[in-house]
Amino acid sequence: MKLKTNKEKSKIKERSKKADEKQKNILEMLQSHGAKIYDDLDNGQFPKFSIPSRSVSNIVYDKKLRQYILGSNSALRSSRNSSQLRSFTQLMWLAFFANRLTQEKKSSTLRDVYYSSQAFAIEFEDQSESDNIIVDLEAVTSKPREDFHIFPEERSSIFGDLNIEYTIPGYEGKTMNLSNHPDGYSIGPSLTTAELVDTSAEIVIAIEKGGLFTRFVEEQVDKKFKSIIINTGGQAPRSTRTLLKRLHEEMKLPVIVLTDGDVYGEHIAMVIKSGSANAAHLRELTVPDAKWVGVWATDIEKYKLPTIPMTESDIKRCYDLQKDPRYEDGIWKKELDVFLRLKRKAELEAFSKYGLTNITEKYLPQKLELAKSL
């Protein structure tokens, strides 16, 4: 192995310092919350804190930030109120648990959290109750759960010429090039927290489906179009959205999104671009400059793609999205209207009608060209 130059060494140092600092901030914040509650108890007062309200009426669209955010309403959660006492304790436990995870640099899945609670006599009825408390913690701290080392189950992956450097315990300083394994690398805690060192790519292509991801790797889309390919596995998980945001901001790469030609595909692209109402309490998950390049409703006619009829729920989803302020104008509104007119949809695989490589050789280049003007 080639020895690292001094310059590189100092870079590594700087990077790990940055990661340490982030961790320190998290721990300090948790400690200050804990101290406040400790003091309340010690002074004979029922501890309490306020949580931004996540009710529908408090979720508003911020045009400047181009995402949904929480309004100014907040709810007081008090240990004096016997009906809140249980969830108060659950939240306290979660903060305590996140504190340990962060200090020990261990990661945990949502399901782990649910089971871990049982060791402390904190009963969650089911995982959805514990998931909900995790969102509470995010809302109180305005930090995504990944910062507390809590991750969802992974199903998305990445491939392309990108060098990263791990920061997780046992791998600190170790680097990796993400084009070494043709099945791609799954986007988990180690990848999300890794430092992005350098890349030769000029664009990130997020694609909805694993099948197409494999085809793109086979057809060397990464080399032909100097790109990093990411499989979102349907709706992109938050760790994947975090990574997309970092690729865009830290590596200055444009992001384009390729989905099935239906209303759900359109919305997958929208969530990458401007987040979901569910995560309105968080602000580090969006790539406002991401571009949806297809498959558009108009492509169905233009490329004469084989289609299948929309279901009742597809159509209902169209009408729901028409009420969303983000679908009020531009390509978003136009394509939604066409979907409603056609009442038909097409999958990415539909291009196979014209040969397996048709999508990479004909469709993709045209769309990449088009993206520049979007």
């Binding site: 919350h33 804990g34 101290a35 108890l41 006492l85 304790t89 306290m92 436990w93 504190n99």
Partner: protein
């Protein structure tokens, strides 16, 4: 013509019941043993009730041969401390079917006292043993009879009759019958247990064949007021009943023999004095008000015959034809039949008419029914299309049917008089429930009297929750006229009403420990079957049950919500005790401190506040 002559035999009531014993609940050894127990225990309780005696009833069942397997002969003995039965009536009362003392219209457990005789009959059929009856009416002398029934003749056969000195009043009946205690035992024990709940003023003991003794001492010292016998209500009547009442209301023309003439002379104060016809009439007019009906009829006849006592002695009345106003008589002296015309204007004519043709309709109605006064009687006559003065004795069959129908349909009669009913009363019922179940909550209600088809009834109900009551409620205890109903509960109207209730609405959830007691009192319980086990769903009865149950359920709901609040307060206190220390532990580690915060203070605050709220609540309640 056929040579074979059809033979028509009259069968006796005993024979009829012998061949139809299923009807009375004697279908198999299990059911028969249970039914026999019921009949004797209920007779004993009825006898004591009628005389206002606090009942002591002893039930003993013994196997004749304990080693034998069921079904086998058992000796069943029921002793009471009631009034006993006069020795002269005993053979008929226990040795004849359809001889009873309960034919009057009032509430009693049994209707006619038939069941006991049926049990005796069943015992005799299955074991060929005599019934032993011991009775003392004065507490000094006891008569002991051994009796068999002559089934064909419906007559008692006295096998033995002895007397001896005793110190207690009461009746003891002992029969030998084929039974199956291993199967009937549960029901009999339940029956005794449930009977003592609805008869809290009775002491009941039961010695069972296995040597176990069950004692249910009385825990209420007062007997509920006894019912009175009353006249029937017009809505509860049929043609046959009217016919019988007419027969009762008509009087026969007295046989004018020497004894009768002597009686008339005596009543007129003429025993030793001989007066002429005119003088006798004068005397009779003066004394009219004091004369008996019979004597009046004789005077009336004399007035038309224009005879003195001497002449009267020599004739015999043959016929009185009221419509043609003719009187026929046989003259012994002249040996021929004679007739005279009667003057309808004579006041004596009416006297005879009453006797021969019965009472006028309005008199019949007002005198023989409850709830009918002269005004109502006139209104009814108009409604039914009868002349008010129509004589009952002159009604044709069709007219009787019309009368019966109209009595059912006429709506202006007042509701039946409930004084013939004997409900247990709220207080004894509540005491009984409390003693039997030791519940956390009890409520009872007695509904006002109501009526169905002319029969008055009263519904009493009780509800109880918690305590010794088993979960899986509601457990329903059904009673009718103080008899527990144990069989066939599925089709009973009480069960229907209970099952229709949405208990969730009354804050009763899960597997609740609660019981419902229902008691229907009526001069006639509308049983669905002859076995007296389930009550038919008459709308009037169903309505009263529903209202009663709703009232009780609301009371229970109020209790449950209070109980819920108390539980909640306790739960709350536990919540704080559980969670605050956990919060302290987590906060300590989060804050990076070593010592846990002093959280005891807020737990104390919480406790103090809680006791204050409870004190306030109690204060409100006391007010």
């Amino acid at each position: 013509m056929s040579l074979i002559k059809e033979k028509f035999n009259q069968i006796s009531p005993s024979e009829f019941f012998y061949s139809n014993r299923d009807l009375a609940g004697f279908s198999n050894p299990t059911r028969s043993l249970y039914t026999a127990v019921r009949e004797f225990v209920e007779n004993a309780l009825d006898a004591c009730d009628q005389k206002g005696i606090l009942p002591d009833v002893h039930l003993i069942i013994k196997a004749v041969d304990p080693e034998k397997s069921d079904p086998k002969p058992y000796i069943l003995t029921v002793k009471d401390n009631g009034p006993g039965i006069d020795p002269e009536h005993i053979p008929l009362a226990f040795g004849t079917v359809l001889y009873g003392s309960k034919f009057g219209l009032k509430q009693a457990r049994g209707m006619f006292g038939l069941g006991a005789t049926m049990a005796i009959l069943y015992g005799q059929i299955t074991t060929n043993k005599a019934v032993t009856v011991k009775s003392s009416v004065d507490g000094k002398i006891q008569d002991e009879f051994e009796l068999l029934l002559d089934i064909q003749k419906n007559k008692p056969v006295i096998i033995k009759h002895t007397t001896k000195e005793v110190s207690k009043k009461g009746l003891s009946v002992s029969i030998c019958l084929e039974g199956d205690y291993s199967k009937a035992g549960n029901k009999i024990r339940d029956y005794v247990y449930e009977t003592s709940l609805i008869t809290p003023y009775a002491s009941i003991t039961f010695d069972d064949p296995k040597g176990e003794k069950f004692a249910h001492p009385r825990f209420v010292k007062d007997i509920p007021p006894p019912p009175t016998i009353i006249r029937p209500h017009p809505h509860g009547i049929d043609v046959e009943r009217i016919r019988r009442m007419i027969v009762e209301s008509q009087f026969e023309i007295p046989n004018i023999d020497d004894a009768m003439i002597e009686k008339v002379r005596k009543d007129l104060g003429l025993s030793v004095k001989n007066l002429g016809f005119t003088a006798i009439m004068e005397k009779a007019k003066k004394k009219w008000k004091t004369l008996s009906r019979q004597v009046r009829v004789v005077i009336a006849l004399m007035s038309f015959l224009k005879m003195d006592f001497e002449k009267l002695n020599k004739i015999k009345i043959e016929d009185i034809d009221m419509p043609n106003k003719k009187l026929f008589y046989w003259d012994f002296g002249e040996s021929q039949s004679k007739s005279i015309d009667m003057n309808p204007e004579s006041p004596y004519f009416k006297q005879l008419t009453n006797t021969v043709q019965g009472e006028p309709l309005t008199t019949f109605l007002t005198k023989r029914f409850q709830r009918i006064g002269p005004t109502t009687a006139l209104k009814f006559a108009e409604f039914a299309g009868f002349k008010p003065e129509k004589r009952m004795g002159t009604m044709s069959n069709q007219e009787l049917v019309n009368l019966s129908d109209s009595l059912q349909k006429f709506e202006d009669f007042l509701a039946p008089d409930p004084s013939c009913l004997a409900p247990l009363g709220e207080e004894p019922l509540e005491k009984g429930i409390k003693k039997f179940f030791n519940p956390d909550f009890t409520a009872v209600v007695q509904r006002p009297a109501s009526a169905y088809s002319g029969f008055p009834f009263i519904v009493e109900m009780g509800i109880a929750y918690g305590g010794d009551i088993k979960t899986g409620g509601p457990h329903v205890y059904r009673y009718a006229n103080r008899i527990p109903l144990l069989y066939d509960e599925g089709s009973d109207v009480v069960l229907k009403v209970v099952n229709d209730t949405d208990w969730g609405r009354y804050k009763i959830k899960g597997d609740p420990p609660f019981i419902i007691v229902s008691h229907i009192c009526s001069t006639r319980i509308p049983y669905k079957t002859a076995g007296k086990e389930n009550v038919a769903d008459r709308p009037e009865i169903e309505r009263e049950l529903r209202l009663g149950l709703q009232y009780l359920s609301r009371k229970l709901a109020a209790y449950m919500s209070k109980r819920g609040q108390a539980d909640m307060a306790k739960k709350r206190a536990n919540l704080y005790a559980k969670y605050i220390p956990l919060i302290a532990t987590f906060a300590t580690e989060l804050a990076g401190r070593k010592k846990e915060p002093n959280y005891k203070k807020i737990l104390e605050i919480e406790n103090a506040e809680k006791s204050q709220t409870i004190a306030e609540e109690n204060e409100v309640e006391n007010k």
